[in-house]
């Protein structure tokens, strides 16, 4: 077999960087942190080659601000970090959500809290990704389990941020970020890319926060005659503060959520493995889905009907999908590298089935054996 050009052997973090370039990201601002550093390192080298901008900022707060600023100017923009840096980005993430500026934040999770286990994997940021910034904000969170998924979901994250004009989080982890494996990189022209909707209204007619049927407002490039106000206060359709107007507040907040709901089918990604006749459903995401898949194969060899529902979209939580897959099973097992975060969402949607966690927080991957043992224990 000869070496095909589009087959690569690369790290998850490399795949994220490759995908960002191919999906049209042309601005990256960040601050290095293990285990996400390779993304910044590679983009520092590649951005100038595509006339993009790479900025190493003084910290994570500033890099998030720079990313939002670049996107306000009309450029697809991204940053990457790990848990401690992700915390620092939260304030500006809320800003991006309410002013509806597309951006992508990659969080390659490591053990926490705080500096925790700097080089080791964890899944402790699941709730931070959802609720890290304050207020009733919308957010989309995607989580890859393989290098190939790291590539695909990075493209999707960028597309969804443009489609929805909202921040999207790629929630990776130290295993997926650093593992090297095979990935097929599609050619640039075969990738389906989504660009934010640009207004065709004149500068005189344009109102920055008038939304279409889908709840997403049209974007206008500054410097082309359009002058408009952007504020993180509750604002009206013209973009001006309306902080004492209850009706405006209500309709803005509800619209921010409605636009995510409108595109629910486009942003819900999952995979299944031997679920058709499964009696024991394992629900997993990120690197743990790898162990869970192996556990399903091992259990099936022993005649135990196990199946895997791998969630690639964590937020908005795919409640209907989980309900559908839980319907026919006896018990549900949720392995996570935290002490139980997504399991609570599963419990709400498991149709009163028993939901049992397998949890590990010592910086080591949950093994297929641990998951299989738990299935046998509760059987």
């Amino acid at each position: 077999m000869t070496c095909q050009n589009n087959i690569k052997f690369m790290q998850g973090n490399e795949a994220v960087a490759e995908a960002a370039i191919l999906a049209g990201v042309r601005f990256f601002a960040g601050y290095p942190i293990t285990p996400a550093t390779e993304i910044a390192e590679i983009l520092a080298r590649k951005m100038p080659l595509v006339d993009g901008v790479f900025l190493q900022m003084e910290d994570e707060i500033a890099s998030m601000a720079a990313v939002i600023g670049a996107s306000m100017a009309g450029v697809k923009a991204m940053t990457s970090t790990s848990g401690p840096g992700f915390t620092l980005k939260q304030e500006n993430l809320g800003y991006a959500a309410i002013v509806e500026i597309p951006c992508v934040v990659v969080d390659v999770q490591r053990g926490g809290p705080s500096t925790g286990l700097p080089t080791l994997p964890a899944q402790g940021d699941v709730m931070q990704a959802r609720w890290g910034t304050h207020g009733d904000h919308p957010i989309v969170v995607l989580s890859p389990a393989t290098v190939a998924e790291a590539f695909d979901l990075t493209v999707q994250a960028i597309n969804l941020s443009e489609l929805l004009r909202t921040p999207v989080i790629l929630l990776s982890d130290a295993v997926v970020g650093h593992i090297r494996e095979k990935v097929e990189i599609p050619s640039a022209d075969s990738l389906k890319l989504i660009e934010r909707k640009i207004t065709n209204k004149s500068p005189e007619q344009y109102q920055p926060y008038v939304a279409g049927e889908d709840g997403v407002p049209e974007f206008a490039y500054r410097g082309k005659g359009y002058r408009y106000h952007i504020t993180s206060n509750i604002h009206d359709e013209a973009g001006f503060p309306a902080t004492n107007n209850h009706e405006v507040a209500d309709s803005l907040l509800r619209r921010l959520h409605a636009k995510i709901d409108y595109y629910k089918d486009e942003l819900t990604f999952y995979k299944e493995e031997q679920c058709a006749d499964a009696e024991f459903l394992i629900i997993a995401y990120g690197c743990v889905a790898r162990s869970a898949k192996e556990a399903v194969h091992d259990l099936r060899k022993e005649g135990i009907k196990a199946g895997l529902l791998q969630l690639q979209t964590l937020w908005p939580f795919p409640a209907e999908i989980v309900q559908k897959y839980c319907a026919g099973v006896k018990k549900v097992i949720v392995p996570e590298m935290n002490l139980g975060q997504l399991i609570n969402e599963v419990k709400l949607n498991a149709l009163n089935k028993d939901v049992i966690g397998v949890n590990r927080v010592d910086g080591r991957m949950i093994t297929p054996q641990e998951i299989a043992e738990k299935v046998k224990e509760v059987k």
Binding site: C3, I179, R180, S291, K293, H297
Partner: protein, 181 residues
């Protein structure tokens, strides 16, 4: 077929690159699936370091290695730290220049001892290519990938000016292993 290979030694012996080359030989040239992971901690900056490769006909899900099929130890520290995971049927390859005490390897039948770094210095004038000598030995002993494919993977990864040197190192390791087997 599924083979789990651990390359261990000292940070700086090129074992991370060695692991990547072996995995690329499998994925890019032999049509196999493979994963590569590396120990990533303070020890990578001078202490024991570890590079793990799994080569398989099927997709590799769980990427960690509990008991390697093939275990390379290029330093005593690495052998002491990782050697206990080795199982009876494992193939163990030792660099005698740095490893003298094999007491951690109990009941292991297939232990191959070569002066790997010495061979590298003799063949290329440099200790630097010891990782490639080791790859030659691994492939010569086990056939985990075909030699041609290993050659292609080496040539893809090493700097152009060192191609000849690295091929020499690879061949030296490979031939030595063939004679031994």
């Amino acid at each position: 077929m599924r083979k789990e290979i651990v390359l261990s030694g000292f940070g700086g012996q090129g074992l991370v690159l060695g692991g990547i080359i072996l995995a690329e030989a499998a994925v890019l040239y032999q049509g196999k699936q493979a994963t590569h992971t590396q120990s990533y901690g303070p020890e990578a900056r001078g202490g024991a370091s570890k590079s793990e490769v799994i080569i398989s006909d099927e997709e590799v899900n769980y990427p960690e290695i509990d008991c390697p099929d093939i275990f390379l130890a290029m330093t005593q520290d690495a052998l002491n730290k990782y050697g206990e995971a080795v199982k009876k049927e494992s193939i163990v390859i030792i660099d005698t220049e740095y490893v003298t005490d094999l007491s951690v390897l109990k009941d292991i039948k297939r232990i191959y001892q070569f002066p790997i770094t010495e061979i590298s210095k003799r063949e290329t004038g440099k200790a630097l290519s010891a990782n490639i000598v080791a790859l030659g030995i691994i492939v010569g002993l086990t056939g985990v990938v075909e030699k041609d494919n290993l050659e292609k993977a080496v040539l893809k990864r090493v700097p152009p000016a060192t191609k000849e040197m690295n091929l020499k190192a690879l061949n030296a390791g490979f031939e030595l292993a063939q004679k031994t087997n």
